[in-house]
């Protein structure tokens, strides 16, 4: 490939190749403070290629390729090349990760214990995690929770936070401009702006934490808290896992252990401040 970049994110090393300089320049700026893979060996390769050879010059359109591909992944316009790189990295993780049980969830840590937040897209887990990461918590990841199947520990995967639509302004009001990527408008997911996690999150990306609580947040309704039964959590988490089925009995054992050892709550919240208040309250109760 003409342009290349390697990035270490937590325990996972990526190599991204691109037919164009532009998406990789944006990616390099966004991931400026991340280490390079120590031994130069990468777990996953992402390639951004021209959809058709001539389209590299004429109405360029980016196709996402890699070791694992979805046949129907639609090409993106070159203006959204950074999004294509991010989606490519997520795709490789979702389809190829075999070392960890992967949950589509955000994780934050405080006092050595981790909080897992999972829910449907739009439930606000990414925004909540990003906000908590600026308010005394360590952001471990906004997209994937990596559960180590031997130790039961969660490992950080602090890639750039993908902020969508309304969440962009919320974070712009709190975080220095230098930590943001370009605003990508009119993508298939609406407006998107990536945000680099803070120094604390990056310098501790090798440091895992044992889980303490599983939360199912839902944005938009009046504040409410209810406990979630273990069988329901199990079902929700198998749905939230991209690789549960392929891990067989090891996945079953680690997921049932996670559920047996941790309480779970569903919360409805009308605004992010009330959600952060609830989370801080839960943490105080758990520590007491």
């Amino acid at each position: 490939m003409k342009h290349r970049l390697s990035i270490q994110i937590g325990p996972v090393a990526f190599r991204i190749g691109s037919a164009w300089a532009q998406p990789l320049d944006a990616l390099a700026r966004l991931y400026a403070a991340y280490p390079e893979p120590e031994d130069g060996i990468c777990d996953f390769t992402v390639r951004l290629e021209a959809e058709k050879p001539w389209r590299r010059y004429f109405r360029p359109s980016v196709a996402i390729r890699g070791d694992y591909i979805l046949p129907d992944a639609a090409p993106l316009s070159l203006a959204h090349g950074l999004l294509a790189a991010e989606m490519g990295m997520n795709l490789q993780m979702a389809l190829g990760q075999k070392r960890y049980l992967l949950l589509h969830a955000a994780t934050v840590e405080k006092n050595g214990r981790a909080l897992i937040m999972t829910g449907e897209s739009g439930a606000g887990k990414s925004t909540l995690a990003a906000l908590l990461g600026e308010r005394g918590w360590r952001l471990m990841g906004d997209e994937f929770a990596l559960l180590d199947m031997d130790s039961g520990m969660l490992l950080p995967f602090p890639r750039a936070v993908s902020l969508k639509n309304g969440a962009i302004a919320v974070m712009e009001a709190q975080v220095a401009p230098g930590r943001f990527g370009p605003r990508l408008e009119g993508t298939p997911k609406g407006d998107i702006r990536h945000m680099r996690p803070n120094r604390n999150a990056l310098s501790r990306m090798g440091e895992g934490a044992m889980p303490a609580l599983i939360l199912f947040p839902r944005f938009g309704a009046a504040q409410a808290v209810r406990s979630v039964g273990a069988a329901e959590i199990f079902m929700r988490l198998t749905q939230a896992s991209t690789n549960y089925v392929s891990l067989g009995r090891r996945g079953f054992d680690s997921l049932t252990r996670l559920i047996a050892n941790n309480p779970a709550l569903a919360i409805d919240y009308p605004d992010t401040d009330s959600a952060i208040g609830l989370v801080d309250d839960f943490w105080r109760e758990l520590a007491a």
């Binding site: 039964g229 273990a230 069988a231 959590i233 199990f234 009995r249 079953f252 054992d253 049932t256 559920i259």
Partner: protein, 93 residues
């Protein structure tokens, strides 16, 4: 008249975890996970003694549990056997 005889996999092939009164089963031969409620786990346990038809299965369950009405339990066992067979957790011997 004896009905079909059913069999299931040995305990080593099926990991079971109790969650909230439900049982979560990992069925190693198929790699599939099932969430089941009583009396499905009890039926599987009773079939592990050896293959049995519905009548024999009911007799084994009766030895372990107190039933108020045999007819209702017999209907439930028939219905659960059909579901467990469809799920691949029991098969005809």
């Amino acid at each position: 008249m004896a009905g079909p005889v059913f069999a299931t996999d040995p305990e080593a092939q099926v990991s079971a975890v109790e969650l909230d009164g439900l049982s979560v089963l990992f069925h190693a031969p198929s790699g599939m996970t099932h969430i089941v409620a009583a009396p499905a786990p009890q039926i599987l346990d009773a079939l592990r003694i050896g293959p049995a038809d519905a009548g024999e299965l009911l007799a084994r369950l009766r030895a372990w549990y107190d039933f108020e009405s045999d007819d209702e339990v017999a209907d439930a066992v028939d219905a659960r056997l059909e579901e467990l067979e469809a799920a691949g957790l029991v098969r005809r011997a």
